[in-house]
Symmetry: C2
Subunit: 454 residues, 2 copies
């Protein structure tokens, strides 16, 4: 009988992260100071991040060493398995060959610990006592709580209020690993109080929660801030996923024609796709990498490429990104981890250069895909993950229509054990579509007056 | 750096289950007819179970082939990883070497699919259309839902009411895999109605839920019943865990002095320990196998060895078991999977013959152990699993006191992703002990009039 899994040994955990910036034909534009709107250097980040992470943020070196201590923690769940999706292929009756790389085996159930552990490690090295952060669905906050616990650092999490209420167990998970969790917007920060004054019933957003966590970190020298996506170093840490996946595809004697991943801020997508894009850039291969985003938060498919803030209030440097405007508050879809107005700088530049693709899916279509997957393969995916599955199903169906076989690799970035209320909503027929009109997008963009890029 | 995991390939998934009955010095006593109290043969089970499972229930063959189709489904998560618990060892500052075999990587998050898949497979082979079952914490019901979905069989689950209310997401998980779930006691069965008439607020118990599921199966020819523990064939299916674990310990160049597992009906404990007991029985080794049970449901440590019913109402054959009496309703502890009045026949005989040991822990002690484990190793264990961790910690501390190193293997049978309400209870200091007095045990035993064993 055929193998379902392609496994690697602990010795095959990558020893270096891959930095795609080195290989990009057009390097990212510089960040700008939020006040002067002049380009800023790495020193501007020093109040918020440990120096080593700032260095990684701006480096153009192709490879960055993964410390032994970080690889040692990775061994708690890495290398992660890759599966051939025989069940899904049969359910779709497709000639496509489908594989998935499964990051849900980590303690917190997603890919997020890959960077959380690295960030906590460097923070510890530099004497940091407390790390603040934001979290949407709770995946990132859980991962950072786990990582901080491991290195003996305090962790303070601002959790988007709608998720805080929808997913109380994510909070308990963070508490179990010793973290403190606040619903955002909170009354603990200026940023939070400002939002609450305008809208006491604000469901919150990742942008707002970032503002709160950044404010707290900026106000205390021994406190730093950690971001779960968007930034270059975060995307780079996630490349362990794709580096393993390339090895696993080689072991399987195959190579994907298409790689699909959910898209929030970009680290999930970058993690699996950059090492495959490297093969395109280095060897002239033509592996299509598709970012799957929610149609209710379509920055890649319907946003604009311009400078914008990373947070909702306008405290961060201005970044060149695909954005819906930093004041955009996405509909309260269940894929909380994708409710972010902008895309990471590196991914934005790659999209602008047409080196990657993007596609949007409604949440009803995504849950349909997720339930099909769960019944065919066993694993119940996270709502975020369902976006990638929806894209993969479209591509597999296209293979069937065209009568051709292509190899599709899905980034199955997390399990849905904390998202079953969302599944209940879908199964009982109560889940609603969240369409967004061109007028709504135009209105959100009209609110920002940050520099436009030609 | 040292490896944390000991992994096997899919080719190393066992090809046969191990049947300890073959090697037992004293074979189990026969089951008795509930009415006549005379020994019954396998034909008495025919209304409830597929023939192949009945054969497995009574066989004394040492090895039973695992069908290729079952091994193929096992490949979705098996072989499961074994970990060296370096983090826990450091946290305890113990000279003991601690390992854990982790079954939480299965789609439903516990060891239960090992037998669910086998039972669904044989049912399908024999033309069964629907399977009914009971579930406590939801681990078993989830596993059977997943397995039935895979083989295209309807699944109807009676879930103990206290767990149904405490763990709504387990129900949704079963629904996602296509199963129907009822809170037990329900109004759908005579057994349920009888209990509700006596106590409309009954929190339910595994014994009651079994009565309901059995009644439904007995009333329709194409419907069979599946049990998640207790019976010989169920215990045997779980031996894939221990068979893998023996190989993994050999790969690690080590062998346990002590194997610990949680104890509900016995399949969890049997799964990991029987292949090690085989080494005791065959080679005269002295591996101590300890069953860890809740002090609120202490059938092994404070129950009596006698004939008793498997269900609460008295419909099943009488089985020779350690029991607290079939009408015993355990306190509503969070480890719902261990709230069962009796112990499987084979395990009971082994305990009577002093070939295994048992130990009881209060739930507060168990959650303390679980949180320590989560902080040291990352994985948040199920409340059931915490019982084994509590025993392992006692043994590791004893090693420290005595200044000796022993090798301890924990059966980490499931994750606690659906049990975070329980963790919240513990972390907020609200979790209560459930002591049980000798008078309460005597009163429960006084209610039964089943045959006593000398």
């Amino acid at each position: 009988m055929k193998n379902r899994k392609i496994l690697l040994s602990e010795q095959e955990i990558p020893e270096k992260w891959y930095n795609i910036v080195h290989d990009m034909p057009n390097k990212p534009l510089p960040p700008l100071h939020p006040g002067t709107k002049e380009p800023i250097g790495p020193e501007a980040l020093a109040p918020l991040f440990p120096m080593e992470l700032i260095k990684q943020e701006v480096t153009t070196e192709k490879w960055v060493d993964i410390p032994e201590e970080v690889r040692d923690v990775y061994k708690l769940w890495r290398p992660t398995p890759m599966f051939r999706a025989y069940g899904l292929e049969a359910a779709l009756d497709t000639p496509a060959k489908i594989y998935y790389k499964y990051e849900g085996v980590s303690p917190s159930g997603s890919h997020k610990p890959n960077t959380a552990v690295a960030q906590a490690y460097y923070s510890k090295q530099e004497g940091v006592r407390r790390i603040t952060t934001e979290t949407g669905a709770g995946q990132w906050g859980s991962a950072l709580s786990f990582a901080c616990q491991h290195f003996g650092i305090e962790c303070e999490v601002y959790m988007v209020k709608i998720s805080y209420e929808q997913k109380p167990y994510r909070k308990v998970m963070m508490n179990t690993w010793g973290a403190t969790v606040h619903a955002s917007p909170s009354n603990l920060t200026e940023a939070g109080r400002k939002i609450l004054a305008e809208d006491p019933d604000s469901p919150g957003s990742l942008g707002i929660a970032i503002s709160e966590a950044v404010e707290r970190a900026a106000s205390d020298e021994k406190t730093k801030y950690a971001l779960g996506s968007v930034l270059n170093h975060v995307l780079m840490h996630q490349t362990v996923i794709g580096l393993e996946a390339v090895k696993q595809m080689e072991k399987a004697g195959d190579m994907p024609d298409i790689v699909v991943a959910p898209f929030g801020g970009g680290s999930n997508f970058a993690g699996i796709s950059f090492p495959f894009l490297r093969l395109n850039l280095e060897e002239g291969r033509n592996i299509r990498c598709i970012a799957a985003e929610p149609s209710s938060c379509p920055k890649l498919t319907r946003g604009v490429f311009r400078y914008d803030f990373g947070d909702a209030v306008g405290m961060t440097p201005l970044l060149p990104m695909y954005t819906l405007g930093h004041t955009f508050v996405p509909a309260p879809i269940h894929a909380g981890g994708l409710r972010y107005h902008g895309a990471g700088v590196v991914v934005s530049q790659l999209l602008r250069d047409k080196l990657i693709e993007a596609r949007a899916h409604d949440q009803v279509e995504c849950f349909e895909a997720g339930v099909l997957f769960a019944r065919a393969e066993g694993i119940i995916p996270a709502p975020e993950t369902n976006h990638a599955i929806a894209t993969a199903i479209q591509e597999a169906n296209k293979c069937k229509e065209e009568g051709v076989s292509r190899t599709i690799l899905i980034h199955l970035c997390g399990h849905g054990n904390f998202d079953l209320a969302a599944y209940e909503n879908y199964l009982s027929g109560k889940l609603v579509k969240h369409e967004i009109t061109s007028e709504q997008i135009a209105a959100a963009l009209a609110k920002i007056d940050t520099p436009v890029i030609d």
